[in-house]
């Protein structure tokens, strides 16, 4: 028997079996007649926008949900058989999005033991299973730690170890990296791949990240409760237009070649990796007879991105002078979260802020509206010293709007309208001003009028996020700071929010700081990029200049857009292209330009 999981005409609708609901709500089919099988030992990625039914499908694989129609077999066992339920769950383990909410015990190794303890494994074997599982995810050194002492990626690896210790044949992971930083993502994906390759565990990975899906043997694309594409990553990603239709992304490399093709250039369409893409473009150049210079090393010396150079005259929107913040000052654990930061951000700039976790970027932004008080140094907002009069600090909270990560978790009012009005009300505006501010903010984030009277808790994830952002925009801040506004959203939701922020910026012309782990987002969005590293500002310059220093950025543990990698390669091979290209759009233009210079 080669099938790990098999579904036959699987249908599912929520609300069907709810005995307590008086009037049965019309059941919406979440899964529609799905017949597929997952091969033993395979690595399958499942893609699809939020609400397409992929998580619901995953919950059928370990009998958390039972089919409304059709059958699901796990290792030949029908999941609907009640007495076999723990056999099914032992065989198919599941890892969820939020690493915090799956760890039960207060010590890492005890948490890993939780599953096998439930299975009643004798103590002697428990010990060896726990040790093996921790070894498999590379967390042996942390076995005595408490979960809250670990990073997100480490917690997620502990959660995986907790599943491995049950010796499952298959692991289903439901967006395991959505809440992690790039380093955590890399750790988790590397762990998953190793488990698949070395331990022969079947993997089903649900994800919104195309680069993760590209590593799988097989990619399934879901839309509206059924699979619409099924094949190798290469095959699936070649259907660029279908993927875009269902609100998904494709890797930048694939997108570039697709765009070139649309402009009438013959290109291969099943390109995924950076080296393949660079090769394909190089071949184009060669065929077109583009003159090629000598191979060179791009990067380093050329244009050293510089830190503060301000336009004289107008006071910058934000200025920090020798800004230092020390946590735990006076104790042996004292640590500078930011150290001697001198920064000056022009009015009206749209700045992308990047830096890995712990680089000091969160500490920096918490200073800008006075949530944290500097240990040393000063902050000037619009030329005014923030801490001139500590009693007056609330005034700056309205001037500098700060949207935290996962802002939807701060919603609390009965209606969307009331929640958005919380800020303006605190400012002491009168009713008509409040009304105007709320409606305008709602418009900016695309929340329709009829939603204003709804409870914020009834909205979808993306809507909640936008309401929370509106709550800050409604205060009419001169400076808007957004910490990871797209974290955990699907590609469609991601693009929508970014587009709205960009429109808001265009209309208002205020200063915006966007903190993001996604280099693609920053590249698409920002005019200038601020790179934080080791408690200091490493670079602050135009986006193009910053991305020319791809290598340095990578050395800081950050990633760079795929396109930039491709162009670095091409430039190093001596092709006449600028290495700082960072969007698909400009990449296409650059290539077409170069091609037109070709002899043939």
């Amino acid at each position: 028997m080669n099938e790990m999981i098999q579904t036959q005409h699987l249908c599912f609708a929520y609300g069907q079996f709810e005995a307590f609901s008086e009037a049965p709500t019309p059941a919406r089919m979440v899964l529609q007649d799905i017949s597929l099988s997952i091969e033993r030992g395979s690595f399958t990625a499942v893609l699809g926008h939020n609400g397409c039914g992929k998580s619901t499908l995953a919950k059928h694989f370990n009998a958390i949900l039972l089919p409304s129609g059709g059958k699901v077999y796990v290792d030949g066992i029908d999941t609907a058989m009640e007495d076999k339920i723990f056999d099914v769950r032992q065989r198919v383990g599941m890892v969820f999005q939020n690493p915090d909410n799956q760890i039960v015990a207060t010590i890492v190794e005890e948490d890993v033991a939780f599953g096998p303890e439930n299975l009643g494994i004798p103590r002697k074997e428990l010990r060896s299973r726990v040790d093996e599982a921790l070894e498999a995810v590379g967390m042996t050194d942390y076995k005595d730690k408490a979960p809250h002492q670990l990073s997100g990626g480490q917690k997620q690896r502990v959660a995986i170890a907790g599943i491995i210790a049950m010796r499952p044949d298959c692991i289903v992971l439901d967006e395991p990296t959505a809440m992690l930083d790039p380093r955590g993502r890399r750790e988790v994906i590397a762990t998953i791949r190793r488990l698949n390759r070395e331990h022969g565990i079947t993997v089903v990975l649900i994800t919104h990240y195309m680069d993760e899906a590209a590593q799988a043997d097989r990619v399934l694309v879901f839309d509206d409760g059924k699979p619409i594409l099924d094949g190798t990553a290469r095959e699936v990603f070649s259907h660029v237009s279908i993927l875009k239709q269902v609100g998904l992304d494709v890797p930048q490399t694939t997108e570039l070649l697709y765009q070139l093709q649309k402009s009438g250039v013959q290109t291969p369409h099943d390109v995924l990796r950076v080296d393949e893409c660079a090769e394909a473009v190089a071949r184009l150049f060669q065929n077109a007879g583009v003159p090629r210079g000598a191979a060179r090393r791009v990067d380093t010396a050329e244009t050293r991105p510089e830190t503060p150079h301000q336009n004289k005259g107008a006071a910058p929107a934000i200025q920090t002078v020798h800004l230092t913040h020390t946590y735990g000052a006076g104790t042996s654990l004292a640590k500078n979260a930011i150290e001697d930061v001198n920064l000056s951000i022009e009015k009206g700039a749209l700045v992308g802020v990047i830096g890995h976790t712990g680089s000091g970027k969160s500490t920096l932004i918490s200073h800008l509206n006075g949530l944290l008080k500097p240990t040393k140094g000063e902050i000037y907002i619009d030329g005014e010293n923030l801490w001139q009069n500590p009693k007056d600090i609330r005034r700056f909270r309205f001037k500098v709007g700060l949207v935290f990560q996962y802002p939807e978790y701060q919603l609390f009012e009965e209606t969307v309208y009331k929640d958005i009005s919380f800020g303006p009300r605190n400012m002491g505006l009168n009713e008509s001003e409040i009304d105007e501010a709320v409606r305008e903010a709602a418009r900016f984030v695309g929340i329709a009028d009829e939603l204003l009277d709804a409870s914020p808790f009834e909205l979808s994830g993306g809507q909640k996020r936008r309401v929370a952002i509106a709550g800050v925009i409604a205060m009419h801040p001169d400076i808007l700071i957004l910490d990871e506004p797209t974290a955990g959203l699907d590609p469609k939701g991601r693009d929508k929010i970014l587009r709205q922020i960009k429109e808001y910026h265009a209309e208002r012309g205020n200063t915006i700081l966007l903190i993001s782990h996604s280099m693609e987002d920053v590249a698409k969005f920002a005019d200038r990029v601020l790179v934080m590293n080791q408690a200091q500002v490493a670079m602050y310059d135009t986006t193009e200049n910053v991305f020319q220093h791809a290598r340095e950025i990578e050395q800081m543990g950050l990633s760079i857009p795929q396109i930039t990698k491709v162009f670095h390669r091409l430039a190093e091979q001596g092709w006449p292209v600028r290495p700082g290209v960072f969007t698909v759009e400009s990449a296409k233009r650059e290539i077409l330009n170069a091609l037109s210079r070709g002899g043939r």
Partner: protein, 273 residues
């Protein structure tokens, strides 16, 4: 920083007391409390006091922490001492109008004060030298026989563990929500009591919502890991009594013997007065 908070009042260390089996520590602490009240002879009580001082010396818990734990009960001690002083009948040593202080009264007040102080210091020592997790573990195992009486021992222990696990997470979350609402201009420091209580609403509601969401997700994750209650569960960690546990037991037993002997055979020094 918030991440480094400790729960309860555990004092990190590796002393003899820290390494004792939590079950033994719980039993011995209870035995110590009983001992305090058994000792009718003040010399017996002195044995108890000496045992406690020795235990504190071994544990290396600083004296400052002991005093801190005793501070909140000072009013209670004063109250009981005064009551005992005036209302125990016997040979008067001092009298003024209707108030009479007797020799017996003074004696009872003194022994009562010592007993209560020792009681609190002794039980604090248990929490100083035992992590909350060990304590939960020890209690679960000690109460296991109660399971036969349909007392939900495993469920209670599970609840304790999960509570301990999520306290740091929720504290961190509270901090985040507070910062977010402050950024929206929430004013939490000024105003009267009513105003301050009102200012908590924007923090408490999101916190509760999030706690319920977490509970929901955790329950799902536990189900996926085949959780089905305490029945048939094995445990990774086994508590095993070591020779040091029996040594501690012997010491306390010796103290008991001394107290009983003193009770039976030694004259009460009070009568010698």
């Amino acid at each position: 920083m918030l991440k480094d908070i400790t729960i309860g009042q555990y004092f990190t260390g590796h002393s003899f007391l820290h390494r004792l089996d939590p079950r033994m520590k719980i039993i011995l602490t209870m035995a110590f409390v009983v001992l305090l009240f058994c000792a009718s002879n003040p010399l017996g009580l002195l044995v108890g006091v000496l045992l406690l001082i020795a235990a504190f010396a071994v544990s290396k818990v600083p004296a400052k922490m002991i005093l801190k734990s005793l501070k909140p009960i000072i009013p209670i001690i004063l109250f009981t001492a005064v009551l005992n002083m005036f209302f125990v009948s016997g040979d008067p040593v001092f009298s003024w109008k209707f108030l009479t202080i007797t020799k017996q009264g003074l004696f009872t007040a003194l022994t009562m004060t010592v007993r209560i102080l020792c009681l609190i210091a002794g039980t604090s020592l248990l929490t100083y030298t035992t992590t909350p997790i060990e304590l939960t573990d020890g209690l679960e195992r000690l109460m296991k026989p109660l399971h036969k009486l349909h007392f939900p021992v495993h469920e209670l222990a599970m609840m304790m563990t999960i509570a301990l696990r999520f306290i740091p997470t929720l504290i961190e979350e509270t901090d985040k929500i507070m910062n977010a609402q402050k950024s929206r201009g929430a004013d939490m420091d000024s105003g009267g009591l009513v105003q301050k209580a009102k200012a908590l609403v924007p923090i408490l509601i999101p916190l509760f919502v999030s706690a319920f969401r977490r509970a929901d997700e955790l329950a799902l994750a536990m189900e996926c890991r085949c959780y089905r209650g305490g029945e048939g569960r094995t445990r990774l960690r086994k508590l095993r009594m070591q020779s040091r546990d029996f040594a501690a037991l012997l010491i306390v037993a010796a103290c008991y013997a001394a107290v009983i002997c003193l009770n039976l055979f030694a004259a009460n020094p009070l009568h010698l007065l």
